[in-house]
């Protein structure tokens, strides 16, 4: 998505939760969502039966209302979504849904990670060019921005056609979504040094490359990491979107399409695929965040995002 942080990450909201607090809050929020979910079904769902029971099994609870959006097709029971992970993913398949989805998620993650690395490198390269040449910046940046107004879903078929259905096509789609946030954030980040520090460097007659490595790049790290966290998710989105037209059958994108086709008979499986996609996105985000914490541990707290 064209989601880009262009501000310094110091606009935090006071207390910065540690990852432990994040996990706890996340857990509480998930629990809350599950409670509301089942509460809605308790009031307006279809009659409750035992988990994974066939129609006709004894009714455990008969909700007073019948809301269409809360029936078992639109809003399956939370426990059924959990239990579906342990069912075979296809009739007569050896793997259960959990194994299958984890396998596809790892496959998608590899594509995404490759796109992420390429996109980050491209973004860094472009931003470096732009901060050293105002002319280039003015000439090209508007098109970098405009490139993101084309929904990637629309471009994916063209990319696939140009390079052939392959992992390469998927990686290109992921790269396309990744380079943008990095480019825009780093144009800012590479200029976010203290002007006094720049004067100091110039008083040493430091070369452009010395200024880049010793001042611009270190000063830009908070911006870089803010962008990389966005790019991590974007690369997953790109990989999922790219797999359909790219003809890749081993990834999450395919799993979502497949389970969508069997939604009527097993809505829980599509939900399971969505849960795994979300987990993959958050996992990649957390990985980048971990790298940030590790690399930025010596910086004052307000320089970290």
């Amino acid at each position: 998505m064209a989601t880009v942080a262009t501000r310094p990450p110091s606009t935090g909201d006071g207390a910065r939760p540690s990852w432990v607090r994040g996990v706890v809050v996340g857990g509480i929020v998930l629990l809350g969502v599950a409670l509301v979910w089942e509460g809605v079904k308790f009031l307006g769902g279809v009659p409750w039966r035992e988990p994974l029971a066939l129609p006709g099994a004894p009714v455990l609870h008969d909700p007073p209302f019948r809301w269409q959006f809360a029936n078992d097709l639109n809003l399956p029971h939370v426990w059924n979504i959990v239990l579906t992970f342990f069912e075979p993913w296809q009739r007569n398949a050896d793997q259960n849904v959990a194994q299958y989805l984890i396998g596809t998620a790892l496959y998608t993650w590899r594509e995404a990670a490759l796109g992420f690395l390429l996109g980050a490198a491209l973004g860094l390269f472009l931003a470096t060019l732009f901060v050293h040449s105002r002319l280039l910046e003015r000439a090209v940046v508007p098109y970098v921005v405009a490139s993101q107004t084309v929904p990637i879903v629309a471009l994916a078929p063209m990319i696939v056609f140009a390079v052939g259905p392959s992992v390469a096509a998927v990686v290109i789609v992921a790269t396309y979504l990744t380079f943008f946030p990095v480019t825009i954030a780093m144009i800012r980040g590479l200029r976010a040094f203290d002007p006094r520090a720049m004067e100091l460097m110039q008083s040493y007659a430091a070369s452009r490359s010395e200024i880049f490595w010793k001042l611009r790049l270190p000063a830009s790290l908070p911006y870089l990491f803010t962008a990389l966290k966005i790019a991590a998710t974007a690369s997953i989105v790109g990989a999922i979107i790219g797999e359909g037209p790219g003809g890749i059958n081993d990834g999450l994108g395919r799993a979502i399409i497949t389970f969508n086709q069997y939604y009527i008979t097993g809505p829980e499986k599509l939900w399971a695929a969505i849960v795994v996609s979300a987990a993959l996105g958050i996992g990649f985000f957390a990985l980048v965040r971990g790298a940030e914490v590790l690399l930025m541990r010596d910086r004052p707290a307000d320089a970290q995002g």
Binding site: M1, T3, P151, V153, I240, P267, A273, I274
Partner: protein, 285 residues
């Protein structure tokens, strides 16, 4: 995290208003215009000369012709009908997502605990590939119902709007609140006179971002199935029919719609908060 698509040129904004500003603006835009014309001409000439895979990358003139020939309603690729349908989905989603986002932000900005829960969710939502929900929305709201696409767009728009408006309402300079308290102003007065004006720039930043997101949401929803005369389907259908000139015409139509929406919001922003667009260059709060 505060999100915006505003370009890097923001900091260069001249301080003084006046005639020089417009000339400066024209000079700013000149290199981009040169690139635009240059790329267009080179593309036309090179593709024409080499006839290289011309069917993937047709000449600009061919794309323009495809746009013209397939514009009318009733044709095989009724681009005008399709663009209108996609635009309607996107605008509907933008409206729903914005209204709900603003309402939730106002309610939650009053309670610290509500913010404590909602902001992490907004951050987490940013880390989730929300597009994975698109097939689900098609099932919920009906695959042929434009509402299913609008809702996809609305969800994408909702989170940045909510998060930004909460920030704008909450991140008021402490001295401004002290000043208001020294007047013995009520919370309601502080909300009206300080918090809401303070939140407007944040709101417009989110709204500008939302224009792009709403189009992406609509097209992603279309990608997972639905009515035929929408831009997302036209791209797929024309590509499988090897009519790449039409595919590119549809793609540029999407980009053009996105840019037009973005510019429209920018114009509204300039009119609504002139004090801010002028200050932005100096004080990037």
């Amino acid at each position: 995290m505060t999100v915006t698509t505003a370009g890097a040129g923001d900091r260069m904004g001249p301080r003084a208003a006046g005639g020089g500003r417009w000339r400066g603006r024209a000079i700013d835009l000149l290199p981009a215009a040169v690139v635009f014309v240059g790329v267009l001409v080179a593309w036309e000439l090179i593709v024409g000369a080499l006839a290289l895979k011309a069917f993937i990358l047709p000449q600009p003139s061919a794309i323009l012709a495809a746009l013209r020939d397939n514009w009318a309603a009733g044709g095989r690729f009724a681009l005008s009908t399709s663009a209108a349908a996609t635009l309607l989905e996107a605008l509907g989603g933008l409206a729903i997502g914005t209204v709900v986002g603003v309402v939730v932000a106002f309610i939650s900005s009053r309670w610290v605990t509500a913010r404590g829960v909602l902001l992490p969710i907004a951050v987490a939502a940013g880390a989730i590939p929300i597009i994975a929900f698109a097939p689900l929305f098609n099932n919920w709201f009906g695959v042929l119902n434009p509402l299913s696409k609008a809702m996809m767009a609305a969800v994408l728009v909702f989170f940045p709007v909510m998060a930004n408006v909460i920030r704008g309402l909450v991140q008021v300079p402490p001295a401004a609140v002290e000043l208001m308290r020294s007047y013995a102003a009520s919370e309601w007065t502080i909300l009206r006179k300080v918090r809401i004006p303070n939140a407007l720039p944040y709101f417009f930043t989110a709204l500008r971002l939302g224009t792009t997101l709403s189009l992406i949401g609509a097209v992603v929803g279309e990608y997972f199935g639905g009515a035929s005369f929408v831009l997302g389907r036209i791209v797929v259908q024309s590509a499988s029919a090897l009519r790449y000139d039409v595919t590119w015409a549809a793609i540029f139509l999407m980009a053009g719609t996105g840019i037009a929406l973005y510019l429209a919001i920018s114009v509204i922003e300039r009119l609504a908060i002139p004090w801010h667009s002028s200050v932005r260059g100096i004080d990037s709060r």
